[in-house]
């Protein structure tokens, strides 16, 4: 029993951390899902060590830990691929935003300089309004 308790607690702590991070909205659900699946399988394997030995015998793997290593590698590979994919999407969005910002900035600067070239529209347009405004009030 002693040698199963440590991995079980370790897996439990990991699942708890992931859940807490999701709850605090540090993690997005789509990333957390993968880690929760990993954590849950770690819990199952830690809780029932015989399961691993049984499954490896079934698959024809002589040393049970090799199955564990193989699974770990596959999982990590999956996580890496997923992150690369997400990063590509983010980079693409980022680039589109940068283009958009650059075009908008140029447009705004153009508008500003055009606006400044109009011979003082604000004081002239505002003055009659200000002068006419007290009129009705005085009545």
């Amino acid at each position: 029993m002693g040698n199963t308790l440590a991995p079980f607690i370790f897996a439990l702590v990991m699942v708890a951390i992931v859940l807490e991070l999701v709850r605090r909205k540090v993690f997005r659900e789509k990333y957390a899902a993968l880690w929760l699946v990993i954590g849950a399988s770690a819990l199952v394997l830690a809780g029932w060590p015989d399961l691993l030995a049984g499954v490896s015998k079934l698959l024809g793997i002589q040393v049970a830990s090799n199955l564990l290593f193989a699974l770990c590698i596959v999982l990590l590979l999956g996580v890496c691929l997923h992150l690369s994919w997400e990063l590509s999407v983010v980079e693409d969005e980022n680039r589109t935003l940068a283009e958009e910002v650059a075009i908008l900035r140029t447009a705004v600067e153009q508008l500003e300089s055009d606006f400044r070239r109009i011979p003082q529209p604000t004081p002239q347009a505002a003055k009659p309004q200000l002068q006419s405004a007290p009129g009705p009030c005085e009545d």
Binding site: R95, A98, A102, I103, T106
Partner: protein, 246 residues
């Protein structure tokens, strides 16, 4: 600023830390008095590129960070698309592309969607050697077959495009390296754009340092083959431009 033929042409100049030369190049293009609008895409420069270009009379797009020539050109194409330009031409900010050749490269658009200003086609004395030369010859041969026309300089950045070419480029953003020339060209051909080339003479750089250092030539060969292979496997883009208006 309308050209005699009422065709609106945008000269796109991607510039990254080209403060020394961009002003003169913009001046030269504006002094042609052909009515071209000049757009300098400041690709996250650390020097005064944007200010110099604006002072010379160009419209400046300031990208918030460096995105490479391909990224800068896409921003330029997006601008051209948004402001409804009929044709664009890419001109290097370092002055290697002679602005006096712009009109002749644009002339190629009367028969094709993309017109490349080619450096080796019997005019000028631009020369490269070693692996870089082999890469260029190989790429030219492969892409000539694809395009069913003789192209001798497919990596030239001095190229013009019409609305179809702009739409194609916006749909397919090329891969990072060599993407702005080879990748985009191959996908454009696959998407049904016609390509032609116009011989031009190149000038020596007017200042600054070349972005390709000679030691990288061998890597250039490998990368260009890699870029080409990827480009060949890409799917064509659907071009959403009304035909017949061009």
């Amino acid at each position: 600023m309308l050209s005699p033929e009422t065709r609106r042409v945008l000269v796109i100049m991607p510039a990254w830390n080209e403060g020394e030369t961009v002003g003169d190049t913009v001046d030269e293009v504006i002094n042609l008095n052909e009515g071209y609008d000049v757009l300098v895409v400041d690709d996250g420069s650390k020097d005064a590129t944007a200010a110099v270009a604006a002072a010379a009379g160009a419209t400046v797009l300031r990208l918030p960070f460096n995105m490479g020539v391909g990224g800068a050109m896409r921003a330029g194409f997006k601008y051209a698309d948004r402001y409804n330009y009929d044709a664009v031409i890419q001109v290097d900010a370092d002055g290697q592309h002679d602005p006096r050749e712009i009109a002749s490269v644009l002339e190629g658009l009367t028969t094709a969607d993309i017109s490349i200003g080619a450096r080796f086609a019997s005019k000028g004395d631009y020369k490269v050697s070693g692996p870089r030369h082999w890469a260029m010859v190989f790429l030219a041969a492969v892409i000539s077959r694809l395009a069913r026309t003789k192209l001798t300089d497919v990596t030239s950045g001095f190229r013009a495009g019409n609305k179809r070419a702009i739409a194609q480029y916006l749909d397919h953003y090329p891969a990072e390296y060599l993407g702005d020339t080879i990748d985009s060209l191959v996908v454009a051909i696959k998407s049904g754009c016609k390509v032609t080339q116009i011989p031009v003479a190149m000038r020596p750089r007017q200042g600054g340092t070349p972005s390709h250092n000679p030691a990288k030539s061998a890597i250039y060969l490998l990368r260009s083959v890699f870029a080409l292979l990827f480009a060949l496997t890409r799917s064509r883009s659907k071009i959403a431009v009304q035909e017949g208006i061009a």
